[in-house]
Symmetry: C2
Subunit: 309 residues, 2 copies
């Protein structure tokens, strides 16, 4: 009974070390050194190619290395009858909220303008945008979205939310479904995309969405590059409708050299670091899920394949 | 009975407008158009020159335009027996906490490094410093320091405090007095100066203080330029002991063109904007204090001249 780390786009060394340190009794292998494929019952996966899992006839569970599972559900050959799990971890939530707060405050406090003034040795006070005037709209009120919402409210920002399906969310005015999207967008001075990537949310940040935002709105995308139509964003920035954007994720990652986003004066770029999974933090939940699945139980943090997250 | 706005370094137009709008019945004048000096009973002051107040024989109260009163108490000819007040306002507190959180997160999340990578089109993920590992030490636990402390704790940062005199502060490990300063500094990965400027705190951020901070500490000064010995800070940065600094206040303001701080790669500069007094927010408390003083009562937010704040 063996656990396989399958992370073709990423060096698995830190994960191997964490499993060895925290669960020395487990037989853990790292792709491409899979050994006999019939040994493999549990795969911890990140960005595996389509069809990857069909080689493992006795596979019982696929665990996404991160909070997102779009990299798995996009595989048309994903085996049926196999559990798919994702990571839910306080550290991931904490990091995401920090990132969102940092970039909302960078916007409201004119941080980039002051940095530019510093380069030019210009002393030019600018009055901050008042938090109480700056409604932040969060698309996606799951674990991550809710934590960010509550922390932004504690800092004095009015927060509203949008979700695809109805669920009561205490203390946050929530708009539900496609019909409510225009009303939601009209209220957002800052729009933050924290949605899971599914066929229903792909490309949602497009020209029409930007048109429905108020003038001088600011857009933050910490979800997936495929949520955003990058050319539509640049057009909305260039015609002066949006004040700026902060992007952690991109249609192509790493963002290619020479891509116009790199040097767009209104865009802040970070290299997909809003929230990084720390092996030491999440290996215990993966090891527990491995034991549960081997004992015939359902794992924690199970993904609803139909819903897509 | 007249109120005088005396702000020689600042255009008083916004203040005049706010008084006219909110208290149209009040006779408000703006320096240098003081009229008969014996009319003046109440002066709203900012950075008046030494001896300024001795021209007004019937003066009853001097109201600082901001939270700090060092610009008043430094005047050796400040009249005796005249009330001195300062501004305490939720908006000032809110802005200061926003600023502090923004710059703590900019440090912990490597924001400046990502900005630099963007200029060079380099995709280079960096693991954030974990909030739980980053003890933030706040010097000065008054109205402003306490609010920042609580909000940083809500975001997951361990917070400790230092104050000159003893006072119980719920939930925050507090070091008191000069003897405890070395122990306090040894714990601070981020040091934030939010002290009032008094003879006892002037120059407190000096070579000895920086030596007592752990290696790679980050320093934020949002109090007064005179708290910091700028040349000592630059020396501590240049020998690699400190990771960086964020300064909103300076020995000379505006920071002169050509000053080495403008282009120090480890220093973030902002033009004294961490917290700006909004006339509309604080004119009501000034008008109320004016009425109280005219009625023979003590004004709110009275300054203890001996203590210095």
């Amino acid at each position: 009974m063996t656990l396989l780390l399958a992370t073709p786009t990423m060096n698995p060394a830190a994960w191997l070390r964490a499993f060895e340190r925290l669960t020395p009794e487990l037989d853990v292998r790292a792709w491409p050194d899979c050994g006999d494929p019939t040994d493999i019952r549990f795969i911890v996966a990140w960005e595996t190619p389509p069809g990857f899992f069909s080689e493992f006839p006795r596979l019982a569970c696929i665990a996404s290395l991160g909070a997102g599972v779009d990299h798995l559900l996009g595989d048309p050959d994903l085996p049926r009858g196999v559990f798919v799990t994702r990571v839910i971890d306080p550290s991931i939530t904490q990091q995401m909220s920090e990132y969102v707060i940092l970039h909302v405050l960078r916007f409201s406090r004119h941080s980039q303008s002051f940095d530019q003034d510093t380069v030019e040795e210009i002393w030019r006070p600018r009055i901050p945008l008042q938090a109480s005037d700056l409604t932040v709209g969060i698309m996606g009120l799951g674990q991550l979205g809710l934590d960010a919402a509550h922390k932004l409210m504690q800092l004095g920002f009015p927060v509203i939310g949008w979700r695809r399906t109805h669920k009561d969310v205490a203390g946050i005015t929530t708009y539900v479904g496609a019909e409510a999207l225009p009303d939601f967008l009209a209220e957002c001075r800052v729009l933050i995309c924290m949605l899971p990537l599914t066929p229903a949310t792909q490309g949602l940040l497009d020209a029409e969405t930007f048109r429905l935002l108020p003038r001088d709105a600011y857009v933050i995308n910490v979800a997936r590059g495929a949520h955003l139509v990058e050319s539509d964003l640049m057009a909305a920035l260039d015609r002066g409708h949006l004040a700026g954007a902060c992007l952690d994720v991109f249609e192509t990652e790493p963002l290619p050299a020479g891509h116009p986003l790199w040097h767009h004066p209104k865009v802040t770029i970070t290299p997909h670091i809003a929230s990084l999974t720390n092996p030491t933090d999440v290996v215990p939940q993966m090891a527990e899920n491995y034991q549960r699945v081997m004992a015939g139980e359902r794992p924690h943090h199970l993904v609803d394949i139909e819903r897509g997250y």
